[in-house]
Symmetry: C2
Subunit: 243 residues, 2 copies
């Protein structure tokens, strides 16, 4: 893999025009590559002194354990996203992180971040942008939770993933490959698996979107945007702010 | 006001032991002080090219406008918090920001941040910590929304505010001054004003907490923690990580 076009580099390029110096520092951050198996936690909730990771390939789920032992999915991470950046900065991880498929990720310690930031403050600002964008997504989910019905919630979710994936070259307005199961969707959207099944069938029959055999296909992108009342401004990937 | 003990300095000290160099840079960031009147938006949702602010005194509410024109409160900011840091990094603000009382805040531009980070990467990491902590709070609210009943939600909210305020010397396990109205509480917790009134009366009658005349008084802190199932680990303010 060429780090110059790593997913993180592609993503941060939406915020800052990266110079040679910054690209070199990003390459440094990708040095300690590791692979992790699907289904085995990278980070346990409550674990301390763990590393953060930059996801290079594969999909990951972040979740909170409930007092009754059930899992509440907070979000999914895709290539270019940080895994557990919050966890490495906070004393103990406030959530668990599990690969959905086999993944490739680069280990990053707080000392690596300090060194990278010392070499290029623009990169620090770019990473602050990425974290702010992650927060904007959680806020959007929070506000949407009570407001959207099941159809709109599913539509919004599939559209948001598509926009995020397109930033790292893994999706378009036609669709994208997606390894999530109906159980993941149910957990993330607060619906039962049966309800998810029914909503997906309805969206397919209305010729808006089809999720089948690991692929999300947008049949009518604008129609889906209208149903979800989807405004992608919070994903903020139109053009770099810092030239 | 001595910036060496500004609320932001006090807050960041929970993450990083600040040296003279960092204290000086923090002082620089506080240069452009301004006051803002209660009730007049600092930042409008959808506004672009605005500044960020460091709140030095007073309380602020962050909200999202709904398509039907109603407001959904996302969070409250207290002294030491950034206002609109996400907004200054994203192209357009994804939320509005309104002072609840007259406030004092220092204006911060992206160029100020770049300069500060260039001078001290430790400060960049500390601010990344603060943003991560803000995100952890939103995640906690998201996960809690469906899980806690009205009593537990109110208890959790009042406890979280108390822990945040204690970090900047404005609260303790005895209580704190609080300018929020029952309408703020209702909006933030997704309850009606009448329901808020009923919940507060019940918590007072159970001798757990009293919110009256602008003061929150914890009558039985441990009892309230138990009711809310409150674990403050996500607020992460036990001791600095970076020595």
């Amino acid at each position: 893999m060429n780090t110059n076009t790593s997913p993180l580099t592609q993503k941060l390029s939406a915020f800052v025009a990266l110079a040679e110096a910054e690209l070199a520092v990003l390459e440094q951050l990708h040095q300690r590559r590791r692979t992790f198996e699907a289904g085995r936690d990278l980070v346990h909730q409550g674990q301390s002194e763990q590393a953060a990771y930059i996801l290079a390939a594969g999909w990951v789920v972040s979740y909170k354990l409930q007092p009754d032992g059930s899992r509440q999915i907070v979000d999914f991470q895709i290539p270019g996203d940080f895994l557990g950046l919050r966890s490495v900065l906070l004393h103990t991880s406030d959530h668990g992180i599990e690969p959905i498929v086999d993944i490739e990720a680069a280990e990053v310690l707080v000392s690596d971040l300090l060194q990278a930031f010392a070499e290029t403050p623009r990169l620090a600002t770019a990473i602050l942008w990425a974290v702010s964008r992650d927060e904007a997504m959680v806020v959007e989910h929070l506000v949407g939770l009570g407001r959207r019905d099941a159809d709109a919630r599913m539509a919004h979710f599939l559209l948001e993933l598509g926009v995020r994936l397109s930033l790292v070259g893994m999706g378009s307005k036609k669709g994208y490959a997606c390894p999530l199961t109906q159980y993941h969707l149910a957990d993330a959207l607060g619906l039962s698996a049966i309800h998810v099944n029914r909503v997906l069938r309805k969206l397919r029959e209305d010729e808006l979107v089809t999720f089948r055999d690991g692929f999300v296909t947008f049949n009518n992108y604008e129609g889906l945007v209208k149903l979800a009342d989807f405004d992608p401004a919070y994903l903020d990937q139109k053009r770099p702010i810092l030239a």
